[in-house]
Subunit: 322 residues, 2 copies
């Protein structure tokens, strides 16, 4: 495939992570109307997967301090999607170390979810392997999402991928949690994940963050090199700098099943109003943490306080000045 912008690959599937990644800004406290609007937009736009939130532990996180989408209980899911009589496949994410996955992830026959995405750091591989196996045994399609890939040294990366390759996960996602990667690194990792995933027939995915305004460009880069599972969110809604904007991605893809008009509609009617109280996007503090290949937490703190416009102080704090 040398010209993906002229034709299209039927195997390329788009995943909407608006409610899951966006939930990291507001403790997953979206109103039902918002979640339903995103769901309806995904269905109408031809999006393949929608991620609704996390399967987080109720022992670690108080049920009354977080919104429903932190836990994705079956009742909450069905209040929005009923039995989901649509081609849109639903997914939730389970974090290694933060989920009672043995009990909280139901057998697939009892759930409206189709896929579980297991998110883990490199040091959490042993639990991730168990989680992947558990979800697959319960009947789910499973995605393995190694977080903060930009900070994993190559020798460790190879070991992680060797182990994950043997699991029943059918998707390996290149996750640029810090928005630190340039196109060359995306190419390198997509090819590496493909090499490891080939024997067991795994697809490779991409989840980009927009710290350096590269989320869309890096997503295209991954697609060009064969990534067939692509994350995006409405207006880029997501933690910190946000994600690859769905409206740009759908405008780029050539599969005639995709429609951009419902995306613009949900952005106009539901996401834009959110931006009056929530903030996300490639602000200078996120540029800086991305360039430094750091977790955005310092940038999130800086922008939440009274110093959101003090770019130079923030730069000096992180670099020691110059």
């Amino acid at each position: 495939m040398t010209a993906p912008w002229i034709t299209y690959r039927p195997a390329l599937k788009v995943l909407d992570c608006t409610v899951r990644d966006g939930g990291l800004i507001n403790d997953h406290a979206f109103e039902d109307g918002f979640v339903k609007a995103v769901y309806d937009a995904c269905v109408t736009a031809g999006v393949d997967y929608m991620e609704l939130g996390y399967k987080a532990s109720k022992k670690l996180f108080a049920r009354d301090k977080c919104g429903a989408w932190k836990f994705c209980d079956e009742d909450d899911l069905r209040r929005i999607v009923g039995d989901n009589p649509t081609p849109l496949r639903l997914t939730a994410m389970a974090d290694a170390g933060k989920s009672d996955w043995r009990t909280d992830i139901l057998p697939k026959k009892d759930s409206v979810l189709s896929m579980i995405r297991v998110a883990f750091y490199a040091h959490q591989v042993p639990e991730a392997v168990d989680m992947i196996k558990d979800a697959a045994d319960k009947g789910y399609e499973v995605s393995a999402n190694l977080m903060a890939a930009s900070t994993v040294a190559e020798v460790e990366m190879d070991q992680v991928l060797e182990v994950i390759a043997q699991t029943p996960a059918s998707v390996l996602v290149v996750v640029d949690s810090y928005g630190a990667m340039y196109a060359e690194q995306i190419e390198l990792l997509v090819k590496k994940y493909q090499t490891y995933g080939k024997e067991t027939g795994k697809e490779v995915g991409i989840h980009a963050h927009n710290n350096q305004q590269l989320a869309f460009a890096n997503t295209i880069e991954a697609i060009i090199h064969g990534a067939n599972r692509v994350d995006a969110s409405m207006a880029g809604l997501g933690r910190g700098a946000g994600n690859c904007p769905m409206e740009l991605l759908i405008g780029f893809l050539r599969n005639p099943k995709f429609r951009n008009r419902p995306i613009y509609q949900v952005i106009q009617d539901h996401v834009l109003p959110l931006s009056r109280t929530l903030e996300w996007g490639p602000y200078v503090q996120y540029n800086i943490t991305g360039q430094l290949n750091e977790h955005p937490r310092s940038a999130i703190t800086a922008r939440a306080g009274g110093c959101r416009d003090k770019y130079v102080d923030f730069y000096d704090k992180l670099t020691g000045g110059e």
Copy 2:
């Protein structure tokens, strides 16, 4: 050069177009303090060129209806930069069809400018050739900027480049006026411009617009393929969706002569305050004109009126709905 992100090319020169392209938003009416602050930041940051505005015709444009940077009279320039006792080279742009270049561009010995950038559409090549020759004869370094390259058919493009290749311009700039190009098109055009410019030793440049959040990514792409003249602006300030953000570019480049701190400083103290009264950035309307490979004027009009949040109406108007 296979790894420009590890080492650097001394031949790579950065041009700041903040005041010139940003002037398209406010009829070039920047206050002296703003222009001086950008100038000082460029000097301290190690930027190579600064573009101050246009050499526009005073017969076509009333002197009292536009700011000084529409005309870049020598007195106005010197009020800011004196005799410019710095390594920063200064430039102004002259548009074919809109400039009394024969009289208004002074001999270089009488000007603080070092370079003239001649901007032209494909159908204006004959005048552009005369303009380039005139500026070169007067002693300037000259850049040839073919605008809206994404709309020029390949056969016409080849004819234009064949003619421009024979002029004394030392730089050919790939200009994505509509923010419509993806990385593949940037690669194709950079290589094509290089092919035509090779015989007469011309460098290739890149001027990107951010309609699809690809200005920085496309600028990197051009650099990877050998473009050595790179445009950017402070916080991306520029018409419509704006340009490649200087703070991202400088963060990417590895030449130790560049400093990002003064860039953050001028953004914090001078550009951010502007954003309270001027608007630029990759808003949805600009996404749409970029995807459709159209001039952003319809998007500019839509955002200036009372319908700036009516994304779907705008989409329907441009596409006929679906």
